[in-house]
Amino acid sequence: MELRALDELLWEVPATGRDDMRVPARVFADAQLLADIRADDSLVQLQNVATLPGIVGAALAMPDIHSGYGFPVGAVAATGLPDGVVSPGGVGYDINCGVRLLVLPVDAAELGARTEKLVHELFRRVPTGTGRSDGLQLSGRELDRVLRDGAQVLVERHGIGTGDDVVHTESGGRLPGADPGRLSERARARGSGQLGTVGSGNHFIELQRVERIFDAGAARAFGLRDGAVTAMIHSGSRGLGHQVCTDYVKRMDAALGRHGIRLPDRQLSCAPASSPEGEAYLAAMAAAANFAWSNRHAMAHDVREAVRRVLGDGAAAATRQVYDVAHNVAKRERHGDRDLLVHRKGATRAFPPGHPELPARHRDAGQAVFIPGSMGTSSYVLAGRPGSMERSFGTVCHGAGRRMSRTRARKEIQGGELRRRLEADGIVVRSHSDRGLAEEAPFAYKDVDRVVGVVERAGLAARVAELRPIGVVKG
């Protein structure tokens, strides 16, 4: 595959690379990450994305890109509205999978020996693992309200969380245009009882210590201080979102011929955003996104309740939400003079300082972005920079990015052994599944420092703080 350097950190497969490509495929990476990226078929998948009808600019990949299905994970594709396509696979099965960060009013040193108690309390309170869990039980009508109006419904009607949490959530915790009527009964059945649950796979709640501040002004705006304890929540729309994607991939796959669309991979199945299938999916996807924000909102409430139990009422009340970001979603956005539908699959919005969509406290700092490392390694808080609007449709990476298959990770280490190693490093671990733990071993991921370094040097975002894990509840 011909790959040319546009600069030190941006590589391009030209649109002439294949007959069916409509735009170039570009990846942000340094030489070492590029070698990892070339080891799997993610760049071929990115070329496939470049064939989507209506795609503009380039099919973009972040330095944490790895092979997925249809879209690679870590990809951005913007299509022109109204007639460019929407691709459910370009959002992914876990619609609005994302990350929420809370900051506690205590320092790690003060928490000390109570860390284990707090992790244990989180594990006890927040349902983790597979399937229908012990989440919030909502009536059908209440679920519809959540699907339509997002996290605000939990504040106003159920006394869960605060209005300040909602303000400090991407899109205010609500995508407009959501229509619960566009969800199948099967999607509702899968989501039933799963609101306020972590799930499995790479989802987690992690307690961290602010290890280092890189940008004091932005850290202050985000409420972060050196040594403080933070709680990071990584989860999404659970079975409800998975089913929405399943339903619409199938529906659009069956309608490809009618729309005259030919694709190199069926998982890219798509339809014009303005078509009946496109409009229905966008309304269902928005509902699933609202479910996901409500899911993380409910878990944040549980984090506060755990804090209350271990550290008291004052500490619970003073636990503030920094922000909440989505990294699997498609959003209508204006870039330059164009209205676009920006698909981010394993990629995070990162708007620069001054953007009107940012909450007032963050407006001078830029959008807060959270980049979880792998279990046992640092995570980063970043702030969006103007380069993101110029180069990546306002987007950065979403994590370290897998480099090793789950099967291979399990062959390399037993879950029990990994648990012992993490605990030897002072990290309290709670997980129902040793197998799941092994699959998420740190060596199965790329070097998060290197990934973050690339997006910073490329001008997409800047480091604000480094967070070190002190406890993890693994889904």
């Binding site: 299905y69 399937g131 499995s200 998975h242 998982q267 298959s405 099967t407």
Partner: protein
């Protein structure tokens, strides 16, 4: 026969069998393998589920089949043990599955169409599907 190919993020399942219905039976065994951390139960369970599906082609029918088994595990805690009967007719299938109630530690979140294959070979049939886990 079935096995798993390396995939960075997910699970890629391949299945070979002498006949088309046996592809579906083998896929059921692969799903049971994912759902059971401690291997198959000593004796098949007593629960039975009837499944009827239709799809535009055999590849999608296989994806729907795995998706149905995953749905039953997620919403009903039904873990499949064995295939009692399976009949392919036209674009659909009808099947009866024996299983047990359990709390699977791992689930299939979704069945993708990425590199989805259901092909005749010299020895019978070969299928391939990538599962989001």
């Amino acid at each position: 026969m079935h096995g798993w190919d390396e995939h960075t993020g997910e699970l890629q399942l391949w299945v070979t069998a002498p006949t088309e219905p046996e592809v579906f039976g083998e896929a059921l065994r692969a799903v049971a393998e994912i759902l059971s951390e401690n291997g198959p139960p000593a004796a098949p369970g007593r629960e039975l589920r009837e499944i009827a599906l239709e799809a535009g082609d055999r590849g999608v029918l296989l994806a729907d089949w795995i998706g149905e088994l995953a749905f039953l595990a997620e919403t009903d805690a039904f873990v499949p043990d064995s295939l009692e009967a399976l009949e392919l007719a036209g674009k659909g299938l009808r099947a009866r599955v024996r299983g047990h109630f359990g709390r699977p530690p791992h689930l299939v979140k979704a069945v993708t169409y990425h590199d989805l294959r259901f092909e005749r070979t010299d020895d019978g049939w070969r299928a391939q599907v990538v599962l989001d886990v």
